[in-house]
């Protein structure tokens, strides 16, 4: 690395840095397996390190105050804490730095618990050597760090909800209740989505139509929710905190556009039901219907009068996992459909308990308390037959005119059984809804399965990598109504976390281009799916430029540049190369541990 390059005017030369290193015992979680005193001694001699200390609990209030005192007393310009995973305390120690007026981006957290002491409990010498290398690498990163400033943006207390299904409706009400104005845009001419079209639904037989009507009634009573039906989001400008969205209203042959300014966006565009191919399990034959079609039939039937196309239905077979768990596409389990089919069969029982019902399934995934519905259906007379994925059932017309479902039943020693039935119900799963224009407009991250991608499925389940763009409901993955509503409310909470302060600080660890190095090859211009890289005029010529407000900090553009003109802040060439070099240490310093 070049010393000249490192010695930028806004930060001292690496060897002149004043870095504080704190090595945590974590009770004994680290110090029982790592010689933390040896680590402290090794780090004390590192260039630029002026404080090297161990601490019993680095995250305790007392130690945080001690760190602040040390930062001030020693005039530290860099901080390294060797403790647990950054997922737990990176923010904690960045805040410690900020409270001591030290730039938080000169802080580096080194994970020596999950990735050292806990992983090598029987190799103290090896773990200690490893930790010394890891902490030296952390020091190298802090030594070469820039004092970056978070990008502060003012945020509007208004959220756009795209999709007027159950998740979007409940989210809009939740937003209003928490003090954030909601703008709801629905593509169709009515609200409610799939749920709004159904009668009794599991688990408690509440009508979907009634639940949606209740939500719509609440919305009409509120002045802080604006609803546009027959409307689509057609334009986006601005960035997190201040999105300028164009909404097109489709009105009697002519379109009208309007602009809505919002701080955040919740996408709740729902799913499509799998549409079987012609001939798939007999689909297309008279009497073969999908589960949503059958549900509509059941919902509209009176007791004792279940009929299809004018013919009474006295027997029927449900074929499970149609459009789900398929190799080469739709490999996911749609999760809701087993329970929905079982619940529908209970509704059929209520209409006429004499109707014979056969459930032809691969696995019954009526999880949690839905298991009780499964038991109830068996007790109510439903018959279950299990097939293997390699020998799926076949549907054909019998000579009698009835439909025949032939299945090799694993529960009866793999006997082949043909069930003569009046109706075949294909228990179809959920598939991603076609939303190409919206995806391109909002840059919604899409997974390989076609559903929208969150940042982390457990820890950040409704956030996307696009700041202020949240996802909820079945556009993200198949789920039940309850789970969709929960996700909608999680998006409300996250929306409040982003907008209620009135401002937000964006992480400055984004990519930047050195225009002097850029030869305007154009290699980087097409690689950013977020459209953050553009070409600008620079010093009388064209050069690439990155918008820090829209850059997601992935670094995907960095290796693309043939002239090394792009760097990701926090992970610069200098920092990465130095960290790699510092990790390689051959032995633990031969020093007596200090008590």
């Amino acid at each position: 690395m070049s010393k000249d390059a490192a010695a930028k005017p806004d930060k001292p030369a690496p060897e002149d840095r004043r870095i504080g290193v704190f090595i945590c015992h974590c009770g004994g979680n680290i110090s029982d397996y790592v010689d933390v005193n040896a680590v402290r001694e090794a780090l004390a001699d590192e260039p630029g390190v002026v404080v090297s200390e161990t601490t019993v609990f680095a995250c305790s209030d007392g130690t945080q105050h001690d760190m602040i005192d040390a930062i001030r007393a020693e005039k530290l310009d860099g901080l390294v804490v060797a403790s647990c995973s950054p997922k737990l305390h990176q923010v904690t120690f960045r805040n410690v730095a900020s409270r001591a007026d030290l730039n938080p981006y000169t802080y580096t957290q080194v994970n020596v618990r999950e990735q050292a002491s806990w992983a090598h409990p029987h190799d103290k010498a090896g773990a200690t050597e490893k930790v010394i290398g890891l902490v030296r690498a952390g020091v190298a990163k802090s030594r070469l760090s820039d004092p970056l400033q978070a990008l502060r943006v003012q945020t509007l207390p208004r959220t756009l909800v795209i999709g007027g299904g159950i998740a979007g409706l409940r989210a809009a009400i939740g937003l209003a209740e928490i003090g954030i104005e909601a703008i709801l845009v629905e593509r169709s001419d009515h609200l409610g989505g799939w749920v709004g079209g159904f009668g009794a639904m599991f688990p408690n037989d509440d009508s979907g139509r009634d639940q949606v009507a209740s939500l719509v009634e609440q919305i009409t009573q509120r002045r802080d929710i604006t609803v546009y039906t027959n409307a689509e989001v057609t334009g986006k400008a601005g960035s997190f905190g201040n999105y300028e969205m164009e909404v097109t209203l489709h009105r009697e042959g002519s379109d009208k556009t309007l602009q809505v300014d919002v701080g955040a966006i919740i996408v709740a565009t729902g799913f499509d039901s799998y549409d079987p191919a012609s001939g798939e399990y007999g689909y297309g034959m008279d009497g073969v219907v999908t589960l949503p079609q059958f549900k509509e039939l059941v919902d509209s039937s009176a007791a004792g009068e279940l009929s299809y196309q004018g013919r009474p239905v006295r027997s029927l077979a449900y074929i499970y996992c149609v459009g789900s768990r398929q190799r080469g596409g739709n490999e996911h389990c749609s999760k809701y459909c087993c329970t929905s089919a079982i619940h529908t069969s209970l509704l059929v029982n209520n209409l006429d308990p004499a109707i014979r019902q056969f459930h032809v399934y691969r696995d019954v995934r009526a999880y949690g308390k839905y298991e009780l519905l499964y038991n109830e259906s068996r007790e109510g007379g439903s018959t279950y037959l299990k097939f293997d994925a390699d020998t799926p059932p076949e549907v054909a017309k019998l000579d009698s005119g009835a439909l025949g479902v032939t299945v090799t039943d694993l529960l009866t020693q793999s006997q082949e059984v043909t069930l003569p039935v009046d109706l075949v119900v294909l228990v179809t799963g959920m598939v991603p809804r076609e939303n190409t224009s919206l995806v391109e407009l909002l840059k919604v991250p899409v997974g390989t399965d076609g559903f929208f991608n969150e940042i982390h499925p457990k820890l950040r389940p409704v956030e996307t990598v696009v700041d202020g763009l949240l996802i909820a409901g079945c556009c993200q993955s198949p789920r039940t109504v309850g789970e969709s509503v929960s996700a909608g409310l999680a998006a409300v909470a996250q929306s409040a976390a982003l907008l209620k302060k009135g401002y937000a600080d964006l992480d400055p660890l984004v990519a930047r281009i050195d225009p002097d190095k850029c030869i305007s090859s154009g290699e980087c211009l097409t690689v950013c799916p977020y459209g953050s890289i553009t070409s600008i005029e620079w010093d009388g010529r064209m050069a690439a430029s990155i918008d820090p407000a829209t850059c997601k900090g992935c670094g995907g553009c960095v290796p693309v540049c043939g002239s090394d003109a792009i760097e990701l802040l926090g992970y610069t060439d200098e920092q990465m190369l130095a960290a790699i070099e510092e990790m390689v240490i051959t032995e633990v310093p031969d020093k007596e541990p200090v008590a």
Partner: protein
């Protein structure tokens, strides 16, 4: 790289990703799934942002092997992350080939945020591969 260098285990540098594979490596530690202490980890936001020169620099600096724990299909940034990372590995391998560095010293695998056991297994296997490679090279 020689067998003599491996009095213990080969030194391995793992490039992990902050949101996906690094939590998987954390989980391996949380579950006390042991792997050689000569494995060290350096996290980046996304494996598509790794420069081939960093991988080569690690091998030049004293690491016996480099393992890229990529985001694979779970990447929250880039839908084509797996292809991009594979391209970076290919470029690094081309440089390694030109310089006579055995291709076995660089390995990539997608690692999810709960892939604790696969990670520990990968490290044990990669370590064994590198040891075997060093032995073969010393015989040659």
């Amino acid at each position: 790289m020689s067998a003599a260098a491996f009095e213990g285990s080969p030194r391995i540098l793992v490039f992990s990703t902050i949101n996906i594979s690094d939590p998987g490596i954390d989980l391996a530690g949380s579950r006390h799934l042991e792997y050689p202490a000569t494995v060290q980890t350096l996290a980046v936001p996304c494996s598509s942002g790794l420069k081939p020169s960093w991988l080569i620099h690690a091998l030049d600096s004293g690491f016996d092997g480099v393992f890229v724990a990529s985001d694979g299909e779970e990447c929250s940034f880039l839908p084509d992350c797996a292809e991009r990372t594979a391209q970076i590995i290919t470029q690094a391998q081309e440089i390694m080939s030109e310089r006579g560095i055995p291709a076995q010293r660089l390995k990539m695998a997608a690692l999810c945020s709960v892939c604790a056991e696969p990670f520990a297994n990968y490290m044990r296997e990669f370590s064994a591969t590198l040891k075997k490679l060093a032995t073969e090279l010393s015989v040659v």
